[in-house]
């Protein structure tokens, strides 16, 4: 990864991470109603793992941003639902519903949205300050 130099790197990469998080939430919500033939093949909610990425140089200590280490799936078990008429139901008439908690995803979506906005706000404010600094003495 390239070096973190200015506020655009800080906020930009954090926004990228938040966007990945938003994408996983979208996938989770899209698959929320899905059913599968077995517990193994049932959909499990995906979650990104955030890590802090620090600036390399000593001069820039305290400067850091967020990056995504990887994406894991939750260990919540898919729900076993009795649906004997379903075409993919197993021999005892059960299907396995995707392990997605809708409320949890919605709340996380709101939180992600807020944090994305905060980063945008930081960039907007500091960009205005930079413009004013450039025009100093005029």
């Amino acid at each position: 990864m390239a070096e973190i130099r200015n506020v655009f790197d800080i906020a930009g990469r954090s926004m990228a991470a938040q966007l990945v998080r938003l994408n996983t939430i979208a996938s989770n919500l899209a698959n929320a109603g899905n059913v599968a033939a077995s517990e193994e093949t049932a959909y499990r909610a995906m979650k990104p793992v955030f890590v802090t990425q620090y600036a390399d140089t000593v001069k820039e200590s305290g400067i850091s941003t967020t990056s995504i280490e990887g994406i894991t799936t939750t260990d919540r078990k898919p729900e076993r639902v009795y649906m004997p008429n379903h075409p993919i139901a197993d021999e005892s008439g059960f299907v396995y519903q995707a392990a997605v908690n809708m409320e949890e995803e919605f709340i996380e979506m709101t939180e992600t949205n807020r944090q994305y906005q905060n980063n945008v706000e930081v960039v907007t404010t500091l960009r205005a300050l930079m413009m004013r600094t450039i025009n100093m003495g005029k």
Binding site: N6, V7, I10, A11, R13, S14, Q18, R21, F50, V51, T52, V58, K59, E60, S61, G62, I63, S64, T65, T66, E111, T112, R114, Q115, N118, N119, V122, T125, L126, L129, R132, T133, M136, G137
Partner: protein, 128 residues
């Protein structure tokens, strides 16, 4: 030249410190959702005092160059959270937002002072 840079020194030091602090606060806001992240901050007053106390190096011969010794390594502190969160993250969004907006406001204040001094100098040079 030394006179002018000395004349602007206080506010330019404040401006660069404020700018550094802005970056640190932006980092805190960027890491609001990262587990185990510890929010950092600079003690502005202490750093400002440090920068002023050091000042220009004393020259004992007229062949010495005057060097402005600025404290480069800012002392980074950790913020004490008001209420600790379970995931070990000490970023409190409301606190960071308030600190950030205060810092931005003070940056603008320093900028205004600097601007006034520069326009003052310019009108003195032009003799208006």
């Amino acid at each position: 030249m030394k006179g002018i840079s000395e004349y602007l020194d206080l506010h330019s030091t404040a401006l660069s410190l404020r700018s550094k602090r802005n970056k640190v606060l932006a980092s805190n806001i960027a890491n609001a959702a990262t587990p185990h992240f510890k929010a950092r901050d600079i003690d502005f007053d202490a750093e400002m005092q440090k920068a002023q106390r050091e000042g220009p190096l004393r020259t004992t011969s007229n062949k010495h160059f005057p060097v402005l010794a600025k404290s480069n390594g800012k002392e980074m502190l950790y913020r004490q959270p008001l209420t600790a969160s379970r995931d070990g993250n000490t970023v409190e969004m409301n606190v960071e937002q308030m600190e950030f907006s205060e810092n931005v406001m003070r940056y603008q204040t320093s900028l205004t002072f600097l601007n006034n001094r520069i326009t003052g100098l310019l009108s003195a040079i032009r003799g208006e």
